[in-house]
């Protein structure tokens, strides 16, 4: 049974995704995502009882390295692509209102 999405579902997903979608995009996305979700719903036909999920196809294990200090790229290089910076910091718009501090 296809679980069709509503516009309000899509608005909620857009908020979680941090995407400021336009009304037009919300309407289109509701239609497209409903079609795709309707399609992927076919996985409910597969019997997965007792099956262990695969996160990585090739067995991977934690890899440790020696705990020694290594060179890193340095502040100037790290900041070279920053949209806005001040001294050795990334600058962002205010995070909290004055009143809430």
């Amino acid at each position: 049974m296809a679980k069709l999405l509503t516009e309000s579902d899509v608005r909620h997903i857009a908020t979680l995704s941090r995407l400021q979608l336009s009304d037009n995009e919300i309407a289109m996305m509701t239609e497209e995502l409903s079609a795709i979700v309707g399609y992927v719903d076919q996985l409910s036909e597969v019997d997965v009882e007792g099956v262990v999920p695969t996160a990585h196809a090739v067995e991977v294990q934690n890899v440790f390295r020696d705990d020694v200090v290594r060179d890193s790229i340095g502040a100037d290089k790290a900041l070279a692509n920053a949209p806005e910076r001040e001294e050795t910091f990334f600058k962002v718009p205010k995070v909290l209102d004055q009143d809430t501090v």
Binding site: M29, L33, N62, P93, V95
Partner: protein, 481 residues
């Protein structure tokens, strides 16, 4: 067209200079690329400096370089410290990586000359290279048609002879499908065979970098350079790397080739089926034996893939927030608005769609029904293949249900575009190596590819079978006019 093998031999032997080979590739790009649109950036200064460095080397040093003076193109999601890396996205339009990818370093060390960065579907999400914020890339066999994707630019660079080799990345078929649609060789290695350090992440459990070439031998030569352990990618395996060129000439008599009915069913175009079946006849003539196998879960691959890949993408692309690098919206009040507006302005429609689908699949209330279930089906798909490889050495199939489609033909129906990935995605879900080798042309004169899949770390065997097929046929010698 000259192969990477012959170019590097000439440069090593002192019969050609690296500056000349670099200039000849740069000239070819200048002449052809305005129409083809394969490149988003040409690295002339870097290429000539690297070529001069190779020419200035002592002869015995130059003799050690396996790709001495060979021009190569890199998909623009592979980081290069000397050139922007944009992923064909507005959000990374001005991004200059602070470091080069592992494969970039390996190529420079081997004497290859990186002449440019190639177009792709934004963040490698797509099967036509139409989802690019940069340009339209055209198929050299018919310029009204797509080259496939997402590594369409790299495929076209090789198919048109602008460079003899190129690198792409393959998350669900993004090397093999464009290789098939443009008539070149493309290989997706085993997951973990090639370091992903410096490859911009899309689906981290699926992504692999791999070679494009006209000949299987050149693909093997290039894989020799890029394969192997790298401590900067903890999923990169330390298993010994074979010499992929050394084993090419072995006979393939007695090799067991699996044919699964599920790969030849409804939806496969007649022109493609005919060429693939003819290729299987050739492999039998070479002494291989074909065996019928069953891969009953194949049809669930697309649903499984589009849940897992988008879930991983939604998480990987969370880093594009307008803080550390990339596009930042200018008209946002607070920080959350800044994130949302920057992402809205920076990402194209397909990337947004996939972030949304992935976020949905991972969200509270849907995680078990979608993401977790997809990971379990992934286990079953792997098991299907493991059972098959207990009986056969290689599985052969078409790469795509049909040959190259017209530009714009499928762009209004995202689901239809996803469905065409049916033959390629299983290899990514199972982590196994798979390649496309040219096997003829359909009635419209468009290239058809034969897919070969093998068990994990069987690249040497796949290349051996593909090489024996290629030297027995002449499809790869035909070039677009």
């Amino acid at each position: 067209m000259t192969t990477a093998r012959d170019i590097s031999k000439s440069v090593r032997d002192g019969n050609a200079t690296a500056v000349d080979t670099a200039k000849s590739a740069l000239n070819a790009i200048a002449e052809q690329d305005e129409e083809l649109g394969a490149f988003v950036c040409v690295c002339e200064e870097h290429a000539l400096a690297q070529a001069e460095r190779i020419d200035a080397m002592a002869a015995d040093e130059r003799k050690k370089l396996s790709l001495a003076g060979v021009p190569i193109a890199l998909k623009d999601n592979i980081c290069t410290e000397f050139a922007p890396t944009t992923c064909a996205s507005k959000i990374l339009d001005t991004f200059k990586p602070p470091y080069s990818a592992h494969v970039t370093e390996k190529l420079v060390d081997a004497g290859a000359i990186i002449v440019g960065k190639t177009n792709l579907d934004e963040f490698a999400m797509g099967s036509s290279t139409e989802n690019s914020a940069k340009c339209i890339t055209r198929n050299p066999w018919d310029r009204d048609r797509v080259p496939g994707g997402s590594s369409g630019g790299s495929a076209v660079s090789v198919a048109s002879g602008m460079t003899p080799i190129a690198l792409g990345s393959d998350t669900g078929g993004s090397i093999r499908q464009p290789a098939s649609l443009t008539g070149v060789v493309g290989l997706k290695p085993t997951y973990g065979r090639v370091s992903r350090y410096g490859l911009v992440a899309f689906g981290s459990s699926l992504d692999q970098i791999g070679p494009f070439a006209r000949t299987v031998e050149d693909a093997a030569l290039l894989l020799n350079v890029i394969a192997g352990a790298d401590s900067r990618d903890s999923t990169c395996v330390s298993a010994d790397v074979d010499d992929y060129v050394a084993s090419l000439s072995e006979p393939i008599t007695g090799k067991k080739i699996g044919i699964a009915r599920e790969y030849f069913g409804e939806g496969l175009a007649d022109g493609t089926r005919k060429q693939v079946e003819a290729a299987l006849d050739k492999l039998r003539e070479l002494g291989a034996e074909t065996v019928e196998i069953k891969l009953p879960l194949t049809k669930y691959g697309i649903a499984c893939y589009y849940l897992i890949a988008t879930a991983e993408a939604s998480s990987n692309l969370a880093r594009y927030d307008g803080v550390h690098y990339g596009h930042r919206s200018q008209d946002a009040g607070d920080i959350v608005e800044m994130y949302s507006a920057s992402r809205e302005e920076g990402f194209g429609p397909e990337v947004k769609r996939r972030i949304m689908l992935g976020t949905y699949a991972l969200s509270s209330g849907y995680y078990d029904a979608y993401y977790l279930r997809a990971m379990k089906v992934r286990t079953l798909l792997r098991r299907d293949l493991e059972n098959a490889f207990a009986k056969v050495d290689v599985i052969c199939s078409p790469v795509t249900p049909d040959t190259a489609f017209k530009i714009g033909e499928k762009s209004s129906d995202p689901l239809a575009m996803y469905l065409a990935d049916v033959y390629t995605i299983t290899a990514n879900l199972a982590g196994i190596p798979a390649m496309s080798v040219p096997c003829g042309f359909d009635g419209a004169g468009l290239p058809v590819g034969l897919q070969l899949m093998g068990p994990a770390f069987s690249e040497a065997m796949l290349l051996n079978v593909a090489h024996q097929y290629q030297i027995y046929t002449n499809h790869h010698e035909r070039v677009p006019s």
